[in-house]
């Protein structure tokens, strides 16, 4: 993660520029997140499945993972558990349309550091990603 002031240097208090791995089987959701994050200066990698997410994470070690909960090959909860086995410090934010409080509690217990509800709101996405990338938690 870089603290970038846009002039080649970096100082404390400068905006967070994070490398974000977006994991979602919906191309529409991936495109939306990519646009929001790249326009704010973040770097985005995207995959559409759980297995691909684990491989990409191992290779690239992104600062933050934005993880959908329902995918064809593996549930988001399983991906979250396996990411945390791969790297105890993996910083994962769950991105879901599931409004159930039980789902939120389950994700929190499995080690997710925040949840972004769908449909995505630009400000909420950026605030949560930057908070989690900066070492905090993004739970509301």
């Amino acid at each position: 993660m870089k603290m970038d002031n846009g002039k080649g240097g970096s100082r404390k208090g400068d905006p967070v520029r994070a490398h974000v791995l977006v994991v979602d089987d919906s191309g529409f959701a991936r495109r939306t997140l990519r646009q929001i994050l790249e326009r704010a200066g973040h770097t985005v990698d995207e995959v559409k499945g759980g297995m691909e997410a684990l491989e990409r994470y191992a290779l690239k070690r992104p600062d933050v993972v934005l993880l959908d909960m329902i995918m064809e090959d593996m549930s988001g909860m399983e991906v979250l558990t396996r990411l945390r086995e791969l790297d105890r410090n993996a910083r994962v934010i769950v991105a879901t349309a599931d409004a159930q409080t039980a789902t939120k509690a389950e994700a929190k217990a499995a080690g997710a550091l925040g949840m972004i509800p769908k449909p995505f709101q630009k400000e909420q996405v950026l605030q949560t990603v930057e908070k989690v990338a900066g070492g905090g938690a993004g739970w509301n």
Binding site: S26, G27, F28, I70, D98, A99, A102, K118
Partner: protein, 180 residues
């Protein structure tokens, strides 16, 4: 949906009716003619069944054009439109089912959304052939309208009798909790 399309949505008060699958077909055929675009999600848990978002074919075209910018639409037209509609269905279905789940304190899990363009009869036949216990079903109808675009759609939840009975028990418990 309002957030996604930038349009004000008007929802009608939900009507809850118990139908056999054949009569559900009849009721839906009166409201939606010809091919309909459907997003379907199977949900499972103490209450399980099928949740569907149904929009007329023309309505689906209008809805997707509101969701996709022209540049994207020109490049990846068909796939992008399908993905956008599936995502809207996913958001609307999980959002509404999730609110009900929270209210009743019943947690359900969802399958990956599937999108289809077919007649109401074909759609419901494919559901009941896969799961024969759904011969008798509960239908929850809510109509939504995008004010400026005149798109109407319906939310349908199909439950088997066992899940319907569990749902009634949970509603009774919820009512008791409300009274205290």
């Amino acid at each position: 949906m309002s957030d996604l399309t930038g349009q004000r949505i008007v929802l009608t008060a939900p009507q809850i009716e118990l139908y056999s699958i054949d009569l559900v077909k009849e009721a839906l055929n009166k409201m939606l003619k010809g091919e309909v675009a459907s997003v379907q999600q199977i949900f499972s848990g103490p209450v399980s069944g099928h949740a569907l978002l149904l929009v007329s074919r023309e309505g689906a075209d209008i809805l997707t054009s509101l969701l996709i910018d022209e540049k994207t639409a020109a490049v990846e037209d068909r796939a992008a439109r399908r993905e956008a509609l599936a995502e809207v269905g996913n958001i609307v279905l999980q959002g509404s089912m999730g609110v009900c789940g929270n209210l009743l304190e019943v947690h359900v899990s969802f399958s990956v959304p599937s999108l289809a363009l077919e007649t109401v009869d074909d759609l419901l036949n494919s559901i009941t052939i896969q799961q024969r216990e759904l011969q008798f079903a509960l239908l929850v109808r809510t109509r939504f309208e995008l004010l400026k675009s005149q798109v109407s759609g319906y939310l349908v939840v199909i439950l088997g009798i066992t899940s319907f009975s569990t749902l009634l028990d949970e509603l009774e418990k919820w009512e008791k909790r409300q009274i205290g």
